[in-house]
């Protein structure tokens, strides 16, 4: 490869555009954090004050004392962790079945699973609400978690990955008398770690951020998840901007932490899922 000389003006232009993009992406986050530590009198100062002169934790204290943010926080952790675990397990098991089992009608069954990807989630909103209502599962963890744990995307994703595991490995284990469950636990799962990690992160981020479904199922204050609680705070404490910002920050911070530790998987998983379309 020969190296071309790149004009200085081009380098300057490219990096200016990227810097501008960085600022546009970052300022809302910076502003959220900054405002969440402001006293009421600093919020409405003009021109805006980027860093509070007298930072305070009052907004966070109020959020947990007055608005009782602890309960939605716990709910969200329970729902996100459980549904991620169940969803990844079910996807891995079904993915294994669709990748390696031999039985009649397998392809048709798999196509049916894939076909559900075409259906927008809103289409099932009302019937699932009615089904949960008749099962007395509204305002329960089961109601928040179960409807989302079987994902066609997850099954598809795991199947694609498990198909690349050589059949010989499985056949050899079978020769030694291993049962399917043993093969799944001792061969498939360990070899699928990268795919499992990717799917776990996707599912966790998705479950943590989910809004429309909890908004409908969790009408009792005790069952609110964080995004629902935020929307309520925005409605009821409309004038308390700093309170809204500290609430938003609490919702976002776990995802940002997950993101920084897992960005390698997120980026790889995203391009994997995209390429195989």
């Amino acid at each position: 490869m020969r190296k071309k000389k790149i004009p200085f003006i081009e380098q300057l232009g490219v990096h200016t555009i990227l810097l501008a993009a960085f600022l546009i992406m970052a300022i809302p986050f910076f502003w959220m954090v900054s405002t969440s530590f402001k006293n009421p009198d600093e919020i409405y100062i003009f021109p805006p004050r980027w860093v509070p002169h007298r930072p305070t934790f009052d907004n966070y204290v109020e959020l947990f004392k007055t608005v009782d943010f602890g309960r939605p926080l716990i709910n969200t952790v329970i729902v996100a962790v459980t549904s991620t675990f169940l969803s990844v397990m079910l996807s891995a098991m079904a993915g294994y079945g669709f990748a390696k089992f031999r039985f009649r009608g397998k392809e048709k069954l798999f196509l049916l699973v894939l076909a559900t990807l075409m259906v927008p989630g809103q289409m099932t909103l009302i019937p699932v609400y009615l089904i949960l209502n008749s099962l007395n599962l509204l305002n329960t963890y089961a109601g928040l978690i179960l409807p989302g744990v079987a994902s066609a995307f997850g099954i598809f994703f795991m199947r694609q990955f498990i198909m690349s595991i050589p059949d010989e490995l499985i056949d050899a284990a079978k020769m030694d008398g291993a049962k399917e469950f043993f093969i799944f636990l001792k061969i498939i799962l360990p070899l699928s770690k990268p795919a499992l990690a990717t799917l776990t992160i996707f599912n966790f981020v998705g479950a943590w951020n989910s809004f429309l479904w909890p908004l409908i199922v969790a009408t009792d204050e005790k069952m609110y998840t964080l995004p629902v609680a935020i929307s309520v705070v925005q409605g009821q404490y409309g004038e308390k901007i700093a309170l809204q910002m500290s609430g938003s920050f609490i919702v976002i911070i776990p995802i940002i932490i997950v993101f920084f530790f897992a960005q390698k998987y997120i980026i790889k998983g995203l391009s994997m899922s995209g390429m195989k379309f």
Binding site: I17, P28, V149, E180, N209, F211, I241, G274
Partner: protein, 291 residues
């Protein structure tokens, strides 16, 4: 050798059972409910719902707010889709240059908005767009540009929502384009250069054709995603002012879970499904036709 039935049931059973109960049966139910007058009285006893044929769909046809919701959703789609693709592609190209510095830093910062919670971020945007104390109007003021009443002016409310939507969508699509760009072999560009193609021509005749799979994937996913617009208008404007930001899904939510007109709301869902299917099918056709 065939797999034993017990193994099939154990491994595929749970996922398929949950899928049947929470996706497949509900799809059928949704179609059925859409031809009934299912309302608040039917929630506790489904027998109270009566078959009304296509009445809900006929009513939708003359429902001004539904047309408004359709119009707004397509407005968002038609504006946000090209903007998302152009910006994603632009940043992918800039980050794909070997001479660009701090690549992973810029890549991460562009990606971050897409994984953060839409509800939380919408709260922040509402504050940034605040006409009196918001950063945006302050910033415009520095250049002597008059600020706007972004979210309460029917003219500006939808553009504000679109800005948030595009802001969030750039990251992941940029990554997909970046992956595609990295798969284009260098010799294609070298050959084009030998033929005297300038950079713009190289972009049109090498980059764009090579990125066709990514362009198709991204546009199909964006169409599906943007047609389901909900959280941004719900949080920023509740569909207002004057229904200028009400979207199909927001209308479905209002009809279903505010007014408990489940039959009517299901008809909205069926129409949305029909639109998504049609547009996806058209995109697939176009792709076949191009090849």
């Amino acid at each position: 050798m065939k797999t034993r039935l017990s193994a099939i049931l154990i491994f595929l059973g749970p996922a398929l059972f949950i899928m049947t109960v929470f996706i497949i049966i509900p799809i059928v139910l949704s179609l059925l409910i859409s031809v009934t007058d299912f309302n608040v009285y039917a929630i506790f006893d489904w027998k109270n719902a009566e078959f009304v044929g296509f009445k809900n769909f006929i009513d939708l046809f003359s429902d001004v707010i539904f047309w408004k919701a359709l119009f707004n959703t397509f407005y968002a789609l038609v504006v946000a889709l090209p903007l998302t693709i152009i910006f994603s592609l632009l940043f992918a190209l800039l980050l794909n240059r070997s001479a660009t510095h701090f690549k992973s830093f810029f890549r991460l910062s562009l990606y971050l908005p897409s994984i953060t919670n839409t509800v939380a971020i919408a709260v922040v945007w509402a504050w940034l767009l605040n006409p009196r104390y918001g950063l945006l109007n302050w910033f415009l003021g520095l250049f002597g540009i008059a600020g706007q009443n972004w979210l309460s002016d029917p003219k500006w409310a939808m553009p504000s929502i679109i800005a948030l939507v595009v802001w969030k969508a750039i990251g992941p699509n940029m990554l997909l384009f970046l992956a595609g760009l990295q798969n284009i072999p260098d010799f294609l560009y070298e050959a084009a250069e030998l033929d005297g193609a300038n950079r713009w021509k190289q972009f049109l005749h090498v980059t764009v054709p090579s990125l066709r799979p990514q362009l198709l994937f991204v546009s199909v996913m964006l169409v599906i995603g943007y047609l389901q617009l909900f959280e941004e208008p719900y949080m920023l404007t509740k569909g207002g002012p004057l229904n200028s930001t009400i979207s199909i899904v927001l209308y479905l939510y209002r009809q279903g879970f505010y007014q408990f007109n489940f039959g009517y709301a299901s008809a909205v869902a069926v129409v949305l499904f029909g639109i998504i299917l049609t547009l996806t099918a058209i995109q697939m056709r176009l792709r076949k036709y191009q090849e």
